[in-house]
Amino acid sequence: MLPQLLISGLALGAAYALVALGFVLVLNASRAVNFAHGDLVAAGGFATVALATLLPVPAILLLPAVLIVMAAVGLAIAALAYFPLSRRPPAALFVSTIAVGLIIRNGLDALFGAAPRAGPPLLGAGLVEIGPAVASRQSIAIIVAAALLIALLWVLLARTRMGKRLRASAEDPEMARALGVPVARMVAFAFALAAALAGAAGLLLANQFFVTPEDGGALMLKAYVAAALGGWGRLAGAVAGALAIAFFEVGVASLLSYPVAEALLYASALAILALRPQGLFPEHAGQRA
C-alpha cells in the first residue's frame, strides 16, 4: 500500500512540479502572475487528446508537438495580454490574463465538450513490479519523463547563454538591459517556456487523471501553493512544494477523501501564509510579487 501511494504521489508531484516551474518562471521574469497558467495545462491535455485521434501513437511521441504548440500559445499570451499592459498596475495584468484563461477554458469547452477525456498513455498501459510494489507503467513513465524535462530545464537555465540571460533579466531587468540583454525577448521566452511546461504537464496528466476544460482553476491554485510553500520565486522550492502538495493530497485522500484533501491543502496553505510567510523551504525571504 505505502509504496504504491509513494509512487502515485511522486507521479502527481512530478506533473505539478512542471506546472509550478512555469508559474515561477513567468513570475520571476515578468513580476506578474499569469492567471491563465492553469488553463494552459488543460489546453496541453486537450492538444494531446486531439493529436492522438489524428495519430494514434504513445503520448511520448506527441510530446515534442505539444511542447511546440503550447510554446506558441505562450508567446501569443505574452503578445496579447502581457506586453501591452506591462507598465500598467498589477490589476490590469490580472484582468487580461483572467480574460485569456476564460477564452481558453470556454474555447476548449466549445471544441471538446465538458465531459472528461483521456489522453493516450506515455508508453503503454499495464503494471510493473518494482520489488514488493506494483505500479502502473504510466506512473513510472510520468516520473521519468517529468524528471527528464526538469533536468533539461536546469541545463537550459544553468548552462546555456539563453538561460543565463533569462536569469539575469529576471534578477535585475535594469542591469540586464544595461548589459545588452534583450529583456522583453527574455520575458516572451519565459512565457513560451512556461506554457510548454504546462502543456507537458497536461500531456502527462491526461491519461490517468483525465482532462476537462475546468481543470485550470485547481491546477493554478496548486502551482501557487507550491510556489508559496517553496519560498516565492525559487525554482527548486517550487519543485519541493509541488512534491509536498502531491504527497499531502494522495496521503489524505487515501485516509479520508479527495475533496477533504483539497480543502485541507488550501486551508493549510493559508495557515502557513499567516504563520510562516517565508514558506516552508526558504533560503531567504523573497520579494512577493
Binding site: 490580472f94 485569456v100 480543502a263
Partner: protein, 578 residues
C-alpha cells in the same frame, strides 16, 4: 482625467443614463409580465450589488480579490439555510449573510496581510475554493451538488415578498442602500487617500495612512456586501446550489466591475443589466457567450481601461465644470509646543545592504526650530538616513528617540506621531489634482470633511505659491511643482519634524528662493527640518547646522561656513564634485 477622479462628477447625464436604463428594464419586464424577465431584472440587481462591493476592494483599495463570488455564495447558503430552518425574514437573513461572508473574509486576513497584489488574488482564490468544496461535498447540510430546493418566499418586516416584481424591487433597493451606505467611503478624504495608496503606497504610508488596514478592511466590507447580495439569491430562484459559489459568479462580478468602471456605482448598474441579459440575447451560442465575456474583458482592459461606460460617456455632451476651489483655511501651522532638549536624537545608527555599508554609526540630533542640512557625495547614505528616520528602512543597530520616546516602527505611525517627509521622486497620482493630492492625507469621510481638507490643502499650496496650479491634474505639473505639492502633502500632516529629500532639485531659481523662505518660516514656527540636498549653495544660507556624510560616516557637523571649509569635507565632497 476626470474619469478616474474618486469624486464622481455631478453631471445629470452620467447618473441619469444608468437610471434610465434601469427604469427601462423594469418597465420592459413589467409590460411583458414575464416572470423570467423579472427574474433577470432581479438577478441584475444582485450582480450590480456584488460588483458594487467588489469596487470597494478592487477599484478603491487596489485589493485584487477572487473571493467575491464565494462571498456571494456563502451569503446565499446562509440565507437559504436560515429560511428553511428559522425564518425567511430578510431583516434576519441579510444581516446574517453579511456576517457570514464578512467573517469568512476576516478569517483570511492573517494570511493576506503581507501579500502583494497577485499573491493576494491567489490566496483569496484558495479561500473561495475551500468554501466551494464544502458546498459541494457537505451533502447533509448543503444538499451537495444538487443544492437545496423549496426555499420559502422571503418576507420583509413580516410582509410576504413573492418572486417576480417584489423581489426585483427589493434587489435594486438593496443596491441603492449599499450605494448610499458606502458613499461616504468613496467621496471623502478617505477615498483620496485610497487613490494615493494605490498609486504611491510609500507616500501614503509616510502620510500616516495604514495601507494594510485600509486595504484589508475594504476587502472584508466588500465580502459582506457580496454576502448581502447573495442573501437574496435563493429567494430569486427558489433554490440554492453550488452554482452560486462557482468561479462564474466571481468572473461576472469582475467583468461588470471592469466594464462598468472600477469605481462607478452607475457603471455597475449598466454593466450588470448588460452582462445578465447578454446570454439571453445570444441564445444558442451557449459556450460562445463565455468566450465573448473573455474577449470583452480583454478588449476593455486593453483599449478602455476606465471601463466601457466611461469610454461611452466621452461621447456624451458634458457641461464645462467650474474649477471648484474652496476658500483657503486661515490657520496654516499649529503652534508647536515647547520642547526641551533635542526633538529627534539619532544614536549610532548602522545599516548595511548586503555587503555595502550604507551607514556606519551615525549620531545626530535636531532641535525644534532648527534646520539641519545633510550633504555628502552620491551613495554616502543621505537618503538611507532619511529612510531610517521616516521608517521606510529599518536600521541594523542604533536607536531613534523622538520627543524623548522611542519611535514606533511602521512609517504610518511615525507620521501620526509628527514625522513627515518628502520624496526624491514625488508621487504623482494620475487621477488626482494637485489640491486633492494634498487633501488626500487628511483623515475623515464624506463631502463635508472633503471641503475642510481641501480648504487646508489650498492654504498650504497658497503658501508655496501654487494657488493657480491647485485645480490642475498632477500629470500637468512640472517636476519642480510636483516637488512642492509633495512638500505641501507632508505639511498637511501638521508635523513637528520634516524630512526633505532634495527639495530644491528641478526647481527654477525664483522657486528656490521662495522655497528657502518658506522653509525658514516653518522653522520659525518651531518645526525641526532635516534637509538632504545635493546643492550646497542652497543649503549654506538656509541651514542652521550642516552635517556631511561620507561612505556612511559623519565626517563633519557644525555651522555651515565651518563645515564648508573643513578639509575632510572639501576632500570628500567638493573635491569629488569638482
Amino acid at each position: 482625467m476626470p474619469a478616474s477622479a474618486p469624486e464622481p462628477t455631478q453631471d445629470p447625464l452620467r447618473v441619469g443614463a444608468p437610471l434610465a436604463a434601469l427604469a427601462l428594464a423594469l418597465a420592459f419586464a413589467l409590460a411583458w409580465g414575464d416572470p423570467y424577465a423579472l427574474r433577470l431584472v432581479a438577478l441584475s440587481g444582485l450582480v450590480a450589488t456584488t460588483a458594487l462591493g467588489y469596487q470597494l476592494a478592487f477599484g478603491h483599495a487596489g485589493a485584487i480579490s477572487l473571493f467575491q463570488g464565494a462571498a456571494f455564495g456563502l451569503g446565499a447558503y446562509a440565507s437559504a439555510l436560515l429560511a428553511r430552518s428559522v425564518s425567511s425574514e430578510l431583516m434576519l437573513t441579510i444581516p446574517a449573510a453579511m456576517l457570514a461572508s464578512g467573517l469568512a473574509a476576516l478569517m483570511m486576513v492573517p494570511a493576506l496581510r503581507r501579500l502583494g497584489a497577485h499573491a493576494f488574488a491567489l490566496a483569496t482564490l484558495a479561500g473561495a475554493e475551500i468554501l466551494r468544496l464544502i458546498a459541494v461535498n457537505w451533502e447533509s447540510v448543503t444538499g451537495g451538488a444538487n443544492g437545496l430546493a423549496g426555499i420559502p418566499a422571503a418576507t420583509l418586516v413580516g410582509v410576504a415578498l413573492p418572486r417576480g416584481l417584489p423581489v426585483a424591487l427589493v434587489a435594486w433597493a438593496l443596491f441603492a442602500l449599499a450605494a448610499l451606505a458606502t458613499r461616504a467611503l468613496t467621496r471623502g478624504p478617505f477615498a483620496l487617500g485610497l487613490a494615493l495608496m494605490r498609486e504611491a503606497p510609500l507616500a501614503a504610508e509616510a502620510s500616516g495612512i495604514d495601507t494594510a488596514a485600509r486595504r484589508l478592511s475594504l476587502f472584508v466590507l466588500s465580502a459582506a456586501i457580496g454576502g448581502a447580495a447573495g442573501a437574496l439569491h435563493p429567494f430569486t430562484l427558489g433554490t440554492v446550489s453550488p452554482e452560486a459559489m462557482e468561479i462564474g459568479v466571481m468572473i461576472t462580478a469582475l467583468v461588470v466591475t471592469v466594464i462598468g468602471g472600477s469605481r462607478r456605482p452607475a457603471g455597475a448598474v449598466l454593466a450588470a443589466l448588460l452582462i445578465v441579459h447578454l446570454p439571453e440575447w445570444l441564445r444558442g451560442f451557449e459556450e460562445l457567450y463565455l468566450i465573448l465575456f473573455g474577449a470583452l474583458l480583454l478588449a476593455t482592459i486593453l483599449f478602455a481601461p476606465e471601463g466601457l461606460v466611461a469610454a461611452l460617456e466621452e461621447w456624451l455632451p458634458t457641461r464645462a465644470k467650474e474649477p471648484d476651489l474652496p476658500t483657503p483655511a486661515q490657520e496654516m501651522l499649529a503652534a508647536q509646543p515647547a520642547q526641551r532638549g533635542p526633538l529627534l536624537a539619532i544614536d549610532g545608527i548602522e545599516k548595511r545592504f548586503g555587503g555595502v555599508t550604507a551607514l556606519a554609526g551615525v549620531t545626530l540630533a535636531v532641535a525644534a526650530g532648527e534646520i539641519l542640512g545633510v550633504i555628502g557625495p552620491n551613495g554616502s547614505g543621505k537618503t538611507t538616513l532619511l529612510n531610517i528616520v521616516g521608517g521606510q528602512t529599518d536600521a541594523d543597530a542604533g536607536g531613534l528617540r523622538f520627543i524623548g520616546r522611542d519611535i514606533a516602527s511602521p512609517p504610518h505611525r511615525r507620521a501620526a506621531a509628527g514625522i513627515a517627509r518628502s520624496f526624491q521622486t514625488p508621487p504623482v497620482v494620475p487621477g488626482l489634482t494637485a489640491l486633492d493630492s494634498v487633501a488626500a492625507v487628511a483623515p475623515g469621510f464624506g463631502a463635508r470633511m472633503l471641503r475642510t481638507a481641501r480648504a487646508r490643502a489650498l492654504a498650504l499650496l497658497d503658501s508655496l505659491g501654487l494657488t493657480e496650479r491647485a485645480p490642475e491634474p498632477m500629470t500637468a505639473l512640472t517636476p519642480g511643482e510636483a516637488r512642492l505639492v509633495d512638500l505641501a502633502r507632508a505639511l498637511m500632516l501638521r508635523p513637528r519634524l520634516l524630512l526633505l529629500d532634495e527639495p530644491a532639485a528641478g526647481l527654477t531659481d525664483p522657486e528656490r528662493t521662495e522655497l528657502a523662505r518658506g522653509l525658514r518660516r516653518l522653522a520659525d514656527h518651531g518645526l525641526a527640518l532635516i534637509v538632504v540636498e545635493h546643492d550646497v549653495d542652497f543649503l549654506i544660507p538656509l541651514a542652521d547646522r550642516l552635517a556631511c556624510l561620507e561612505a556612511g560616516r559623519l565626517i563633519a557637523l557644525g555651522a555651515p561656513a565651518a563645515v564648508r571649509q573643513d578639509p575632510k569635507v572639501r576632500a570628500a565632497y567638493f573635491g569629488a564634485a569638482a
